[in-house]
C-alpha cells in the first residue's frame, strides 16, 4: 500500500553461486556480526535473549550467491568464526532474495518457511529466539524505501 519499494523474488544464476563459493567467507561473517553488534550496543536486543544465545554458533548460508557467514555469540557480542563448525547450533539457508525480504521486513519468516524458501536446521528453540529477537527490534522510523511508513 504505502510500500514504496518491493524486493522481487529472484534467484541468482548457478554461475554466480559457483563463483561465490570460491570467495573468502570472512567478510560476510564480519559484516553480519558487526550489524548484530551495532543493534546490541544500541540496546535494541533484549539482554535476556542475548544471554540465551551465549556460546552458540550460527551459520547463514546464501544458497544462490554461494556465500556463508558463520559467527558465534561470546560475552554478549557476536564474533565471526573463521572455520565453520561441523555442526553449528543453528543454520539458516535461503536464496539472497528471501534474506533481503526478511531483512527489509517485507516477508514473514514463517511464510518463507511454509513456502520452503527458508530452511532452518539445528536447535529449533534457538531459531525461534533469533527470529523473535529480530522481529522485536523497534527500529526508529525513517522514511527509507522498503519499510512501511
Amino acid at each position: 500500500m504505502n510500500q514504496t519499494f518491493t524486493i522481487p523474488r529472484f534467484r541468482l544464476p548457478g554461475l554466480v553461486a559457483a563463483l561465490g563459493v570460491h570467495l573468502p567467507q570472512w567478510p560476510h561473517s564480519l559484516a553480519l556480526a558487526s550489524a548484530l553488534n551495532l543493534a546490541a550496543l544500541a540496546g535494541l536486543l533484549p539482554k535476556e535473549s542475548l544471554a540465551q544465545m551465549e556460546g552458540r554458533s550460527f551459520l547463514v548460508e546464501v544458497l544462490d550467491a554461494g556465500g556463508q557467514a558463520c559467527f558465534a555469540c561470546r560475552g554478549g557480542r557476536f564474533r565471526p568464526l573463521l572455520t565453520v563448525p561441523a555442526k553449528p547450533d543453528l543454520s539458516f539457508r535461503a536464496n539472497l532474495s528471501a534474506f533481503l525480504q526478511l531483512l527489509a521486513r517485507q516477508e514473514d519468516p514463517d511464510t518463507l518457511f511454509f513456502n520452503r524458501e527458508l530452511s532452518i536446521v539445528g536447535d529449533t528453540e534457538l531459531g525461534l529466539l533469533v527470529k523473535n529477537m529480530l522481529d522485536a527490534i523497534d527500529w526508529p522510523r525513517l522514511p527509507f524505501p522498503g519499510r512501511q511508513a
Binding site: 514463517d110 529449533t124 529466539l129 523473535n132 522481529d135 522485536a136
Partner: protein, 336 residues
C-alpha cells in the same frame, strides 16, 4: 449509511507487530507477558514491562483497544504468578483481560470488579449455556468461541446470550476443541494449557536430507516433505500418519482458516468481533492480514449488498497461509 461491522482484533507478539496492527486498522490488539501465563509462550516473543507500557500507550492514544491474554491454566503451587499477571493488567489499564482458568476468572472478578473480562478460546465454551454460566458467575462480557462450531451453531449461541461473541477469522487452525487437546501433552508432556505452547520448540527437530525434509516432535516422526511441498507447523494434529495401511493427514491438513467469503454472514448474525491468529508471526504478517481484513470490513460497512471478495485480498491471505491453502474450517462443515 455505514453498517455496523464486527471489530477487528489482531495479534501482537512484539512492539513492532502491535504498531503494525494499529497502523493498518485493527480496532484492538491482543498481547501477553513474556512468561507462561499466556498461550504463546515462545522464546523471545511477547512483552516485557517496558514494551507493554509503550504498546498500550501507542494503541490507546489512537483509541484502539488492548486486550491482555492471560489464558493458560494456573499450575499447581503457582497460582500467585497468574494473580500477579491479572493485577499487572489492571494496573496497566488494559481494556480487557482474556482468561480461561475459572479460578482466575473468580479472582479477577473479586479483586478487580471494574476490569472487563473476556473468556479465552482456551476456556472452550462451545454452547450458550457455558457462555451464560461465565457471565452469571464472573461477569464475563465477551467470549471467544473455539474454531469447531459451524456458522449456524455460532448463531444459536448469539441468539441465546447477551455476552458479546468473538470468532476467529484468519490464521493457522488449532483443530481440536481448543483447551481440550491432549496431543501435545501426549508427545512432549507439555501443552498450551500448561506451559503456554503447543509442541514447544525444544522438542522439534527439522532434519534435512537430499530431496526432503523430515519433522520430528520429541522423536516422533510428524511429516516428511518433498523439496517443493509446502510445510506446516510441527504439531501432531497436522502430521501425516499411516492409518490402515495408508499415509495421509489423518487429523487435519496444514491449512489456514480464512472467512472472507462468509464475512457478510458473520456480520449478519451479530458477531461482535473477529480475531486474527498469530502472535508468533512477524510484524509484516500482522500488517498484511490486518490491512486486508480492514479493507474487507470497510467495504462491507459501505455496501453490504454488493460486497464481493476481491481476488487481491484472497491472494494476499493465501500467500501467508500455512500449507498454502485456506479453508472455511468448521464454519461450513456439513457434519457436526
Amino acid at each position: 449509511m455505514q453498517r455496523k461491522v464486527p471489530q477487528l482484533v489482531c495479534p501482537a507478539g512484539s512492539l513492532p507487530a502491535l504498531k503494525a496492527a494499529v497502523d493498518h486498522g485493527a480496532d484492538a490488539v491482543y498481547l501477553g507477558y513474556r512468561n507462561d501465563t499466556n498461550a504463546r509462550n515462545f522464546a523471545g516473543l511477547n512483552f516485557d514491562e517496558k514494551a507493554m507500557r509503550e504498546g498500550i500507550r501507542y494503541a490507546q492514544s489512537r483509541r484502539r483497544g488492548v486486550l491482555m491474554a492471560i489464558n493458560t491454566f494456573a499450575q499447581p503451587g503457582r497460582f500467585a504468578d497468574w494473580q500477579r499477571a491479572v493485577d499487572g493488567a489492571a494496573e496497566l489499564g488494559v481494556d480487557a483481560v482474556i482468561l480461561a482458568d475459572i479460578g482466575l476468572l473468580a479472582y479477577a472478578r473479586q479483586r478487580h470488579p471494574e476490569l472487563r473480562l473476556h473468556l479465552s478460546v482456551q476456556g472452550s465454551a462451545t454452547s450458550y449455556e457455558a457462555v451464560n454460566f461465565v457471565q452469571r458467575e464472573f461477569g464475563v462480557q465477551r467470549a471467544v468461541l473455539p474454531r469447531v462450531l459451524t456458522l449456524a451453531q455460532v448463531e444459536t449461541v448469539i441468539r441465546n446470550t447477551s455476552v458479546e461473541i468473538e470468532v476467529f477469522a484468519f490464521g493457522s487452525l488449532c483443530v481440536m476443541n481448543e483447551g481440550r487437546c491432549w496431543l501435545s501433552s501426549y508427545a512432549t508432556g507439555e501443552s498450551p494449557n500448561t506451559v503456554g505452547a503447543c509442541s514447544p520448540a525444544k522438542y522439534v527437530q527439522w532434519e534435512r536430507s537430499p530431496g526432503q525434509m523430515a519433522t520430528r516432535l520429541n522423536g516422533i516422526l510428524i511429516d516428511r516433505f518433498g523439496n517443493d511441498e509446502a510445510a506446516g507447523y510441527p504439531t501432531l494434529c497436522k502430521g501425516r500418519f499411516e492409518v490402515g495401511g495408508e499415509v495421509y493427514y489423518a487429523l487435519e491438513e496444514p491449512t489456514s482458516l480464512n472467512v472472507l467469503e462468509i464475512l457478510p454472514a458473520i456480520a449478519d448474525i451479530g458477531v461482535a468481533a473477529i480475531k486474527v491468529e498469530g502472535r508468533q508471526r512477524s510484524p509484516i504478517y500482522v500488517a498484511q492480514v490486518t490491512r486486508t481484513l480492514r479493507a474487507a470490513l470497510d467495504e462491507l460497512a459501505r455496501d453490504r449488498q454488493h460486497f464481493s471478495v476481491k481476488p487481491a485480498w484472497q491472494s494476499e491471505l493465501a500467500k501467508l497461509s500455512e500449507g498454502h491453502q485456506v479453508t472455511l474450517g468448521a464454519y461450513n462443515r456439513p457434519w457436526r
